[in-house]
Assembly symmetry: C2
Homo-oligomer: 209 residues x 2
DNA sequence: AGTCGATTGTGACATTTAGCACAATTTACT
DNA sequence: AGTAAATTGTGCTAAATGTCACAATCGACT
């Protein structure tokens, strides 16, 4: 099954004409880690849908940055989607995290198809909704939880996406959570003493409780 | 011009059949301050669109609550909208803040119309997008700004909605911003000393700079 | 005028998080 | 093995915010 067929199946795109449109106008591409998919303050030309790999989406403001979310397989960046609908510049940066396969759709079709094809409508609507809910979770987390808990949540989440061993530096973790390296180091050390994880060089091993 | 005509004009609902549908199935109602429009964990039966007044939307969790947004005239609660599309229970509470006029649409039409009528599609899509952007702003604010600045932002925002005199207690302010009364009292006092505002009993007067 | 409950002011202190400094450790590369 | 750069550990201190206690003030109502 090729990438387009994967997409059609996952999004339940059954309309033959839409399939044909996507095959005609969509562009399949494979990108190494670290490639910018969209850049903040630039116009969006394509809506990217992740097939394999993942894309990190964040905002930058006055030297500081804030992680918004990751786009995982068969999802799209809903802020790009929003930008597509409003035809404005991107509010965010997005960059591949791994070797990533994308299908890119020119923006001029994205809105139009939403009104023409049920399945595409469902896809765009669901994207908005799930992104909104994700952001809401992050917001609540930031509002209610202390860094320690947010850190642990992040590790658990990363574990679910891969395995027990999370390959990341303390500095990078601090960046993801919007704090400083020292804070992360101290909290991790504490968790290690509590037996919840084990620290290695640039790698954290979670211990099943 | 009656409330429905206001709605049609604001949302650019020009399709005669949609107008007729809304007139047939929509319910116009006026509610005093403090009435629950939706309740967390309950099923949504109606999508409420505010005509006059405003609705406060928030989440509760373990005794604490978090303000999400206000629904102002000619807007709808996008979380209700999301719930409508996914047919699940409400994630939030919503309550009228003032004497408020609403038009309520039974949920079974909301999704269907989005695909049938351009104007309704635009309305629902725009609602999602603007809500998402609002939440994003709040998220950034929470992540980057200190309470003092968030407090001042809140006051400025309230002022824009009404006038220079904001009628609210320190306790209520603390609640809106997710902090405690003492913190608010101290910060307000400090701002008063800086000449940015003047404190009265249950009222704050902003000073134009 | 007097009472009561809600609101506001404020000092003292605790906790959480951030920032600085510097040492120790690990990896990569010669 | 030896060096450089990145990463990690940690003591000390500062800033922001939260908590407790209690007094003062205000408004509503008798």
């Amino acid at each position: 099954m090729n990438e387009f067929e994967v997409l059609f199946e996952a999004l339940k795109i059954t309309e033959p004409t839409l399939q044909k449109e996507i095959l005609t106008h969509g562009v399949l591409g494979q990108y190494p880690k670290g490639v910018f998919v969209v850049e903040q303050d630039k116009y969006i030309k394509w809506l990217a849908i992740v097939i394999h790999g993942s894309v990190r989406v964040w905002q930058e403001e006055e030297e500081r940055e804030i992680l918004l979310y990751y786009v995982n397989p068969l999802e799209t960046c809903s802020l790009s989607l929003a930008a597509t609908f409003k035809d404005y510049k991107s509010l965010v940066h997005a960059r591949t995290e791994n070797n990533t396969t994308l299908i890119k759709i020119p923006v001029r079709f994205v809105k139009q198809w939403s009104f023409e094809y049920q399945s595409w409508f469902r896809f765009t609507t669901q994207s908005f909704i799930t992104s909104y809910e994700d952001l809401l979770m992050s917001y609540k987390s930031l509002a209610f939880k202390r860094i320690g808990e947010r850190l642990y949540d992040y590790l658990i989440y990363s574990k679910e996406l891969s395995e027990n061993k999370i390959h990341i530096s303390h500095k990078a973790l601090a960046n993801e959570l919007g704090t400083t390296r020292e804070v992360i180091s101290r909290l991790l050390k504490q968790m290690e003493e509590e037996g919840r994880l084990k620290l290695h060089f640039k790698m954290i091993e979670l211990i099943n409780s």
